[in-house]
Symmetry: C2
Subunit: 407 residues, 2 copies
């Protein structure tokens, strides 16, 4: 192997005290959900809220005085950017981060806040990458690769050392896989410490780069995913052989499972996982028979998710559970009718969230009106009970919400 | 004192291994936000997601065989219910939980899921409490009080022992205060271990029970609060003298600060705090000069918040930051105009979330229409830039969102 247990143990000494030894806790609710015995390693509790600090710091700490003085450069619009910026600033190393011109302002700002210079170059990650590498050569800067560097891979591998110290009984680690740095480092560490442990990779179904490489397939790679942290089009040159040697299976996770996993972390574990951070749990939800009864360690590798997306995931889940439902009712268009209906919903124990009137539908009599009432219910049975009561009252209720559409 | 350090150390031995030794971590982002040096104790990572397990288990563990066989009863619609239910089930003790008839189904279900019998009795918490105490007498059950019991108070106090072991440099603990069990136990433990440490209570401004008792005031108590876990109308008989002796100040927190604190935990710390759980941080936001420069330990005491409320807090915060803004535009009512406007928003870099038409406003010409367009922006400056561009285009934009209302 190009990265050895000794490298990872050296990394551990190099970063000790400067990254958080994150908590690992049993997760009885996720265990009940999956039928496995689940422990979660909370890498989202690092200062910049992802595991990327371990690899970045291990790389920075290895630089000589002259390299430090010249500075470092990295390409990333996400967690790697913040990790490099934060630790470079802490060590007094000038840092330049190249991001594609399309990067959302909030990510630029988060990285600048750690004191890095952000340069917007290139339309895509690939282009930005090329620019960053060119800049590194021209300006004599050290390039900090997000995964294809033995020091970075060794840094990430320190997670498994901590996990197996605290829970030597684990017989499986499920690890998100993008460029492969996280899984490669942890596969080396875990298999060296406990040769019988199984390593499973969780890869976004829209970005099956390792799946294709390992299985000789050519599934299409691309598209908008909730797991943008592992949306990587090319496998790592350094990481691929390690993954091939030590990882027993790649599980592809689709967007629905990623969304469910993010929601499960939030509502059951009270913690915020980004899509990529929840990919391991998503794999367990996607293929439960593969994990049932096993002692599984999950690396919740990052928590940087856009609050608006998280809010929308939570509301969609409530709709799926029929705790938020919408009814379309046809009612006579005269004073007082809405009052009667609103009162009726109240009697049925439904809390009205939104009312929308429409007079434009042609299937409604000219003197009638259609209203869409969105209510909060206790559960699916309660939603059905309300529908029956409204039908008995003659309102001809139609369900028009997500929960109904899925039935 | 009716509860001593020795009681708390005994509690620690009694509950060791059966409750989570929760992580405590430095919170650099909350430190930057408040100007203090903040550490957070994550009691929301207990299995039932609140500190209540410590007191409940300490009480249950102290019962004799005959008492265990007869069973226990508690009154709570919240975290105490789940804590008693979970540990009673684990110990094989029959548990009855009395809840008011108005309790949301999801809370009933969560408690039943731990194997407790849930009985709905009484219109209010006070009534339910009376019924539970009566049942306890009639049926010979042991009543597990949520705070007014020395064993419960001693159990809660184990948190401060863990905090001061890991961070002996703390010079202040900020602790949510409802019935006073959490703050009383931890004040005893912390002041015994470190007599110079200051203890501050964070009480909901709508429920200033301790504030009134300590300051001889009669502020009104009641109303809907985000911090329902500390919405307690009467101070504890056991806890009041301890609080009077050991707590240096009560800070009242209003709903806006509670909401900001919940949001800060979520977006900065990637963790879910319920309103009561975030009250300590809310106190720091409410009275920053009291905490600036100090080494502050916060107890994030619970994470059980309704997902819909959390989603709405997140979206409201985005509105406040002008990252979600709504414009009302007056446009001619003819084909193609919406297309032109939508394209214009796109050019300006604003992502359209919602469009609403209205033809009913009388201040709009008969051939005109008003549309409300809600968009996502990069930040407040971007929102202003969009407003200026729309004005220059002649659309007479009016801001109708929360952010604008606050200016």
């Amino acid at each position: 192997m190009t990265v050895t247990l000794a490298d990872i143990e050296a990394a551990r000494r190099a970063i000790a005290g400067h990254v958080v030894r994150t908590p690992m806790l049993p997760a009885p609710k996720l265990s009940a959900l999956t039928g496995a015995s689940v422990r979660v390693k909370y890498e989202n509790m690092q200062v910049t809220n992802s595991f990327k600090e371990r690899g970045a710091l291990n790389k920075l700490a290895a630089l000589g005085a002259a390299e430090r003085a010249r500075g470092v450069i990295a390409m990333s619009a996400g967690n790697h950017a913040q990790a490099v910026a934060y630790h470079a600033a802490r060590l007094g190393i000038p840092a330049t981060i190249v991001m594609p011109v399309t990067t959302p302002f909030v990510k630029i700002e988060a990285t600048q806040a750690y004191g890095a210079e952000v340069v917007l170059e290139g339309e895509s990650l690939t282009e930005a990458q090329a620019r960053a590498e060119a800049s590194a050569r021209e300006r004599g800067l050290t390039f900090v690769h997000p995964y294809d560097d033995p020091l970075v891979v060794a840094g990430q591998g320190t997670i498994a050392l901590e996990m197996l110290e605290e829970a030597p009984e684990l017989d499986m680690l499920v690890i998100p896989i993008g460029g492969g740095g996280l899984i490669a480092g942890n596969a080396v560490a875990a298999r060296a410490k406990k040769p019988t442990i199984e390593i499973i990779g969780a890869e976004a179904a829209l970005y099956p780069s390792f799946w294709n490489a390992l299985n000789g397939e050519h599934r299409p790679v691309g598209g908008p995913t909730l797991a943008e942290g592992i949306a990587v089009k090319n496998v790592g040159v350094l990481t691929l052989p390690i993954v091939r040697a030590l990882v027993s299976e790649i599980v592809l996770v689709d967007e629905a499972h990623l969304e469910r996993a993010v929601n499960a972390y939030l509502t059951l574990q009270k913690t915020m996982a980004e899509g990529a951070g929840a990919a391991g749990l998503a794999a367990m939800l996607a293929k439960p028979e593969r994990f049932r009864g096993r002692k599984v360690g999950l690396i919740l590798c990052g928590g940087n998710i856009d609050p608006r997306i998280l809010a929308s995931i939570m509301v969609r889940e409530l709709e799926r559970e029929n705790r938020i439902v919408s009814f379309r009712l046809t009612i006579p268009d005269r004073p007082g009718v809405l009052g009667v209906i609103a009162t009726r919903f109240g009697q049925l124990g439904a809390n009205i969230l939104e009312v929308e009137h429409s007079r434009l539908f042609l299937d409604v009599p000219a003197k009638g009106v259609t209203i869409d009432v969105t209510v909060e219910t206790r559960d699916a049975a309660h939603a059905d009970e309300i529908a029956r009561a409204l039908a008995a009252d003659g309102y001809r209720p139609q369900r028009i919400d997500a929960g109904a559409a899925m039935e």
